[in-house]
Symmetry: C2
Subunit: 455 residues, 2 copies
């Protein structure tokens, strides 16, 4: 491995220049005006893959193209891993909040500022640089690699699942590796082994056929806004425990090992409370804040709408009231089962004085890879070798639906090795990527293939 590591260390300046070039494309997938930039970026990326010795193609989809690059075919059987990334970026707006132009990388200290630097160009380029080091130094790569770098992650990966499905055979692999999440601190490398799922629904209660004069009618007709409050209030207790029969049935309990790992994360509750600006923290009894927000399911009201919302008052009984709800799910809860349980309970609790409408929205399965699996252990060893520190095991509270697509269509687990620091400002002005994380990430990727393949 020494030649690979040496190669990486010797070429950092060039790698940073290449990242700067990659970041120059305003590859904003959400904005039709950037269609040409999207294609130019994909072409640049495929060219770059070819330059480092991969076989690369720009594959068209019904949306933005996907860059597929592979290590050259060799005789013999080796494990194959798929590295996923995306070359599209979030819109840079509002421009006026950027301290330097979003598509001209600017280095301040060890931070490189540009839109897409952390999310995700810097992270996927780190993996490409690692394979370049193997190929250019003639070091034996103990596995075959396929890179799938798409252009629609920031707009919901609309065409990725279809692509995986129709290229199931070509993209077959033993595991997927993604660096598109975060790490808690520069000296705290992390493996994310679980994600929460989600299910959304909209609940509307309809009462009278129109807003009524509260003086003339109030008292003899139920108030849909109050009925909604009373209905929703019954779904969650005062500590965040969800009161829907069967809701927790499929929840895998945290193991003692996991709880010990999650407890290693830095930061106090006091700091966390101050950061949020709340008068007091909240959550299910018997769990730490970290567990509550990453390893426990939740019910959130995302929005409430009813009646008059302008200045002053309007003395009405509103005709209807609506709530937007999302439930964060944890392994092994199923969005479909949870939606059914919610609907059943809402129907059971809804008073006869109003009409209940439930509209189920998007859903995503939760994700769990055993933190003691051979892949997880290999990833942890690679992180330790690259960063020189004991890595932490993370659960993330959000959802990454594509991870479930890889499981569903390719049958492969995903190892999430995020390289973005909390201060990276992904999706915000002044996004940055730490150049030490870039360098350590390249080494982590290099070690990873050795550790994964030797399992």
């Amino acid at each position: 491995m020494q030649p690979v590591i040496d190669y990486l260390r010797k070429n950092q300046r060039r790698f940073i220049e290449e990242l700067t070039e990659y970041l120059r494309f305003p590859s904003v997938s959400a904005q039709p005006a950037h269609q040409k930039d999207m294609l130019a970026c994909a072409n640049w990326l495929a060219d770059h893959c070819r330059q480092i010795g991969l076989e690369a193609e720009v594959r068209s989809t019904k949306g933005h193209p996907i860059v597929v690059a592979k290590t050259p075919a060799r005789p013999g059987r080796r494990p194959r891993y798929l590295v996923y990334g995306h070359y599209d970026v979030q819109p840079p707006e509002p421009f006026e909040l950027w301290k330097s132009p979003p598509f001209e990388a600017k280095i301040v200290g060890r931070r490189l500022f540009a839109r897409g630097s952390a999310d995700n160009k810097g992270q996927n380029l780190a993996h490409l640089k690692a394979v370049e080091a193997f190929l250019k130094t003639g070091t034996d790569l103990p596995c075959d690699l396929t890179f799938v770098i798409e252009g629609e992650e920031e707009v919901g990966s609309k065409h990725l699942a279809d692509f995986l499905k129709s290229h199931r055979k070509e993209l077959a692999c033993d595991a997927v590796v993604i660096s598109d999440t975060g790490m808690p601190a520069k000296n705290l490398p992390a493996l994310t082994y679980a994600l929460r799922g989600i299910v959304a629904c909209e609940v509307t209660l309809r009462g009278p056929s129109r807003d009524l004069h509260s003086g003339i009618f109030g008292g003899a007709v139920d108030n849909p806004a109050m009925a909604l409050c009373q209905l929703l209030a019954k779904l969650r207790d005062a500590n965040g425990k969800i009161a829907i029969p069967g809701f927790y049935d499929d929840v895998l309990p945290l193991t003692a090992f996991e709880r010990k790992q999650l407890a290693r994360l830095p930061g106090s509750d006091r700091e966390f409370q101050k950061f949020l600006g709340v008068p007091k923290l909240f959550g299910e009894r018997g769990f730490t804040s970290t567990e509550q927000r990453s390893a426990r399911p939740t019910l959130e009201i995302n929005g409430l709408t009813s009646g008059y919302q302008g200045e002053g008052s309007k003395t009405i009984v509103p005709a209807w009231a609506r709530a937007k709800l999302t439930f964060r799910l944890v392994p092994n809860q199923s969005p479909a089962k949870i939606v059914a349980a919610i609907s059943r309970q809402l129907k059971k609790l809804c008073p006869p004085t109003v009409r209940l409408e439930i509209e189920a929205g998007h859903g995503a399965e939760p994700y769990l890879m055993s933190p003691t699996s051979t892949e997880a252990k290999a990833a942890l060893r690679a992180l330790k070798l690259a960063f020189g520190r004991e890595p932490v095991l993370l659960r993330e509270g959000g959802s990454i639906p594509i991870v479930n697509d890889f499981k569903k269509h390719l049958g492969a687990d995903t190892v999430l090795l995020g390289l973005a620091l909390p201060e990276a400002n992904a999706h915000s002005p002044n996004e940055s990527f730490d150049l030490d994380c870039f360098a350590r990430g390249q080494e982590m990727s290099a070690y990873l293939w050795n550790e994964m393949a030797r399992r």
Copy 2:
């Protein structure tokens, strides 16, 4: 009385022409463009009062003027009654929904269509025609009368209280008579003897300092929208009984006589439910629909606002949630005491995870005149004489704050003798006044002075 009644019956055609003239003024108090029309209408009204034999003046205020007209001074002591009405009207918009121009009276069958016909020009003109009949036939009027017809009723009677206060002596009276409410049906004359009061407040719960990502933070931070639902849910039970300590302390129970009277009102619960369009009626157990919506206090949520309300979903824990509330009050609840009780209870129930803000809004006292008082009995006799039917006793669920001003500043009770039918469309396009109600109303007013004065 026969000459008075004969005079009224003989002159109906002219009275309708005069009403048509009165209705021609677009006296829209809310719209500054009609300032001149307001003054022209007030002048026409004062002139008309003079023509029928009253002493009339247009009195300026800081807003629109008030027309004050009195029966000529006579030697001897008689009771004095004050007749209140208003010459201003609601805006006619939307014009396109009117079947005939709003300020050109059109008669279809026995209904006269025009803005202000029922609310309130037709009703106050009926009282003027009654006194005209006394004066023009030389019939002894057994009381003195003062008409106070203002121009700001539709914009909250902003300057009336001050006017009453500063003319307390001039306007002193034994009772106030107002025809500005409704009667249940053409063959069902009514005396309204009670009104509900009101108190408004806005409740805001603030959680985190900004909307939070529900994936990253949800579970360890309370959701202000859910906290609001749980807080409001505790203020009312499933049948509409309000769960605020002390809330019912000052409520005067309905007497057996009142309940018997209210039970005489026509209309079935089935019809009422259909009219409202609700799947089921609602309300406090042990009370009829009529009692629930006129004689019992209520809590209504008039509006709910929190988080994301647009299309689709947004996965946030909203930073805050707000509800607009109004409470309808009944005799002898006090708005100030009720606001204090609400605030106390909200503070007691609010969880420590959110910050509570309460903003108290407008309030109005409830009103009650004994339905067995001499004035009430006189009014009931006058209604029966004019309509030839047994009148009903009504409580109205809405508030008419000026009634409390008359009580407060002049010490006088108000007799509410509404002449508008449920189909009158007050405040809506195609407002109408029934010409039989107009004619019966004139006779009722004529009988009233005899009945009131002979008590």
